[in-house]
Structures are given as C-alpha cells and as structure tokens.
C-alpha cells in the first residue's frame, strides 16, 4: 500500500467522510429514539448534518482573551484525528482480517482514549471556571472507567489464544463461535456496555458536560469550527465504539456476503439500542457515585470474567 491509498482510507472510505456521516446518522437515531420515548416527533434525519455544517461553515470562532491559544485550537483537531484513526483501524480490520497489524487492539484502545484527553486539555486551557470543573470530572470519570474497560477488553484477547490483532480475534470467533456465547464473554460484555456509556458521556455518566448544572461544562468556551470539530469527533466515537463491541464480542460487522453484513448490522443496531435505552431511563449520577460504581461492581464483574476466561470458561 502506498501513501495515496492510506490517505484515501483515512480521509474518505472507512475514515473521516464515511465514519463522520455514519456517526451523524447514529446521532440522529439517538435523538429520534429519545424523542419517541418521550412521545415527541423528533428532528428529521438530516438535522445533525445541518447542525455540524452550520458550526463548520458559517459560525464565527471566538477565542477568549489571555488563554493558551495553541492548546485551545489544537485540541479539537487532535480529538477529531484520533477518533477518525481509531474508526479507520477498526473498520479496515473488519473489512479484511489480514489488513490489521500486530497489536492493533492496543492502538485502538490508545486512540479511543485520546478524544477525552483532548477535551480535558482544551477545557483547562479555556480558563473558564465551569469548564475547569467539567474537565476535572472528565479526568475522574476516565480514571474510573479505564480499569474495568481494560479488564473486560482482555477477555476476548485471552479467549482467542492471546491474539493482539483484531483480525485474529475475528478469525477465532468465525471458527469457534462468538465470545459472547461463553460465560466469561457475557460478564465482560455487561461490564463493557457500562464503560462504553461512560466513554461516550451518555446520560448516567454525563457529569463533564452536565447541561443543566455546568451549562455544557467542558464545551462552554468553544464556538464555531472548534466546537464543530469536537461534535464531529464525538459523533465518530458514537459510531466506532459499538463497532468495537461487535468486533470483540459478536465476531465482527461482517464482510463476506449479504447475510454476514445483515447479521453484523442487526447486532450493531441492538447494541446502539441498549445504549440509548440506558441513556433514557437513568438520571445523571454524581461523580463519586460513578467512581464507586466503576471501581466496585463493574471492576469486580470485569475481573471475574477475566479469571473465568483464563480458566477456560
């Protein structure tokens, strides 16, 4: 593969253009299902495209006086490029099991950690009190969910004979059945769903941007293009994280034939639906409750599943 092909992959097909569009559509599914659960009609399917286009094309980008401009404007770009790269690696490994490289699971985990870190640094550099409170909550939340996330993530790796390559994990599941079919797989899948919810900042764990108490928290000083980049990065995360779950637990989104792709799409939609239902049936918890929840029951669940996986269940 040459540079032009890599650039095409990053910017157009599994990358920025495709993942961005898919993420905005999934964001609309979230808004529409939320509206239907509240007996409302909800926005049309292109609403998120209009919102993002408005921020990227027409709105002014304001920079507060006396702040670190480099950090403030660089962090949205970092978040967007990290999320896009994570999505590209995930989807290309799904497309062809030989496309990945050794250790791409670890690379994906690192890349998925970058958008929250970028958001936190951007919020600190904007020198706003509410943004600072939001950013400190973002750090605490990240410290909380990373431990069970990594423990749960090790289950598919252990199950597939310590394979550190997404393609090998998919191949193992194609030969021996999905990881979610085993007891350890079910437990770690449950822990993973909660971690994903927190990673996306969905409602029980949306303390960093608590819209009623912190007024958008970490995003409060961002406007125009910078805000648009953050929103787009979040949309790509909303698209990519369920793909990660389907890849690790249900044998990939599929690339061999129509039936395979339909099965992958159904699993994907089911996981998105679970996330939206959790979002709509829970109130926001306090940050110390979230920390207790993740380091207590969820970490225990993930550790138990890890032990079971090593024992061969």
């Amino acid at each position: 593969m040459n540079l032009a092909e890599y650039l095409f992959m990053f910017l157009v097909f599994p990358g920025l253009l495709f993942s961005g569009a898919a993420g905005l559509v999934i964001g609309w599914v979230d808004r529409k299902v939320t509206a239907m659960l509240q007996w409302r009609v909800g926005p049309p399917w292109y609403q998120n495209f209009l919102d993002t286009a408005k921020l990227l094309l027409y709105k002014e980008t304001l920079i507060p006086k006396g702040i670190a401009r480099g950090y403030f404007l660089g962090m949205p770009l970092l978040a967007l490029s990290a999320a896009t790269l994570a999505s590209t690696v995930l989807l290309s490994a799904n497309g062809s099991t030989r496309a990945g490289f050794l250790g791409d699971v670890i690379v994906v985990v690192y890349l998925l950690m970058m958008p929250p870190i970028a958001l936190m640094l951007g919020a600190f550099s904007s020198a706003n009190t509410l943004a600072t409170v939001g950013a400190s909550r973002e750090i605490k939340l990240m410290l909380s969910y990373e431990l069970p996330f990594l423990l749960a993530l090790s289950v598919p790796i252990v199950k597939s004979g310590y394979a550190l390559k997404l393609g090998d994990i998919i191949n193992y599941q194609a030969a021996n059945g999905a990881v979610i079919g085993s007891p350890s797989g079910v437990l770690s899948f449950l822990a993973m769903i909660f971690c994903i919810q927190a990673k996306l900042g969905f409602v029980p764990f949306d303390m960093p941007e608590a819209e009623t108490e912190l007024m958008a928290g970490v995003y409060i000083e961002y406007s125009g293009k910078a805000l648009g980049f953050f929103k787009l990065a979040k949309s790509i995360m909303i698209f990519a994280l369920p793909v990660l779950i389907v890849t690790l637990y249900c044998g990939g989104v599929g690339s061999g034939g129509v039936v395979d792709i339909m099965k992958g799409a159904l699993e994907y939609i089911a996981i998105v639906f679970i996330m939206i239902l959790i979002k709509n049936t829970n109130p926001r918890v306090r940050i110390d409750h979230a920390m207790k929840f993740f380091w207590g029951p969820v970490a225990f669940l993930a550790a138990l599943s890890c032990v079971l996986a090593v024992m061969g269940y």
Binding site: R31, A35, Q38, W39, R40, V41, G42, P43, P44, Q47, L50, D51, A53, K54, L57, Y58, K59, E60, T61, L62, E211, T212, L214, M215, A216, Y219, I220, E221, Y222, S223, G224, L227
Partner: protein, 144 residues
C-alpha cells in the same frame, strides 16, 4: 434557496436570557419543547452556553442591573446571531414602562430581529414568532 439560507434557518440553537422577568415567559418557553408542541422537529434546541447560540431569547423588562449583562452577552455571541424580544416586557417594557428602574426597552440596547408579544405568549404565538424569525433569517441570507 441557497445553502447558507437553508442551513441557518433550519438549525437554530437558542440561548434563553431572563433579564428580570416574572418567570412566566420562561415557563412558556419550556412548554414549547414538551410533547404537544415539540420545537425540536424544526431543529430548535436550547443550549446552556452563549458561545453555542444562534438566537438570544430575551425575556423580561430590562432594568439597570441587567443592561450591561445584555450588552456583554450580545458581544459574546458568535455571529451570525439573532435576537428575539419575548413577551410584553421584552418587547416594550410592558406595565413597567414608567418604573424608575427600567431605563430603556430591549430594542434600544441591542438590535432586535423579531418580537413575540403576549403576557405570557401562548405556545402558538411563540411558534408564530418563530416563523417571523425564520423569515428574517432567510431575508438576511437571501441567495447566499
């Protein structure tokens, strides 16, 4: 219709400012987002930060304490931005017209694009005012 006209008139983020209102208008604004009227259908969302807003929705008769805040918020809004005067007080100071404390109406402080009269305005009147605002946005960005 031009692209700019379409996008700006169909995606409206509203920042709600109470410049000394009696809270009645504020309750009516929230009513518009409930199932019966559901303004999210038209792409209208309430946002918490003035930096995200397209429309400044100002309720209440402006008084001496809130005038500097209104001016500051208007300057902090990323342009293109629009202002809506909400309720009888926001539009014309209402029954506080001769009060010692309300110096000037909202449209003498910042430029106002649409007025929604009523005390408080009914949700139907709010949707009517919204159509006036969308007309104004389209007029300002015609053919761009």
């Amino acid at each position: 219709m031009g692209l700019r006209e379409t996008i700006l008139s169909k995606s409206i983020y509203v920042f709600h400012l109470s410049s000394g209102s009696c809270n009645n208008c504020d309750i009516e604004i929230l009513d518009c987002l409930t199932p019966r009227y559901d303004l999210e259908r038209f792409g209208i969302t309430l946002v918490g930060s003035i930096r995200h807003a397209d429309v400044l929705l100002c309720t209440g008769s402006t008084n001496r304490l809130t005038v500097p805040i209104i001016k500051k918020l208007y300057e902090e809004m990323p342009k293109p931005a629009f202002v809506v005067a909400f309720g009888a007080c926001g539009s014309s100071r209402g029954l506080f017209k001769d009060s010692y404390n309300t110096g000037q109406p909202l449209d003498e402080i910042i430029p106002v694009d649409a007025y929604i009269p009523g005390c408080p305005p009914k949700p139907e009147a709010i949707i009517g005012g919204l159509m006036k605002l969308i007309g104004k946005i389209k007029e300002k960005n015609k053919g761009k």
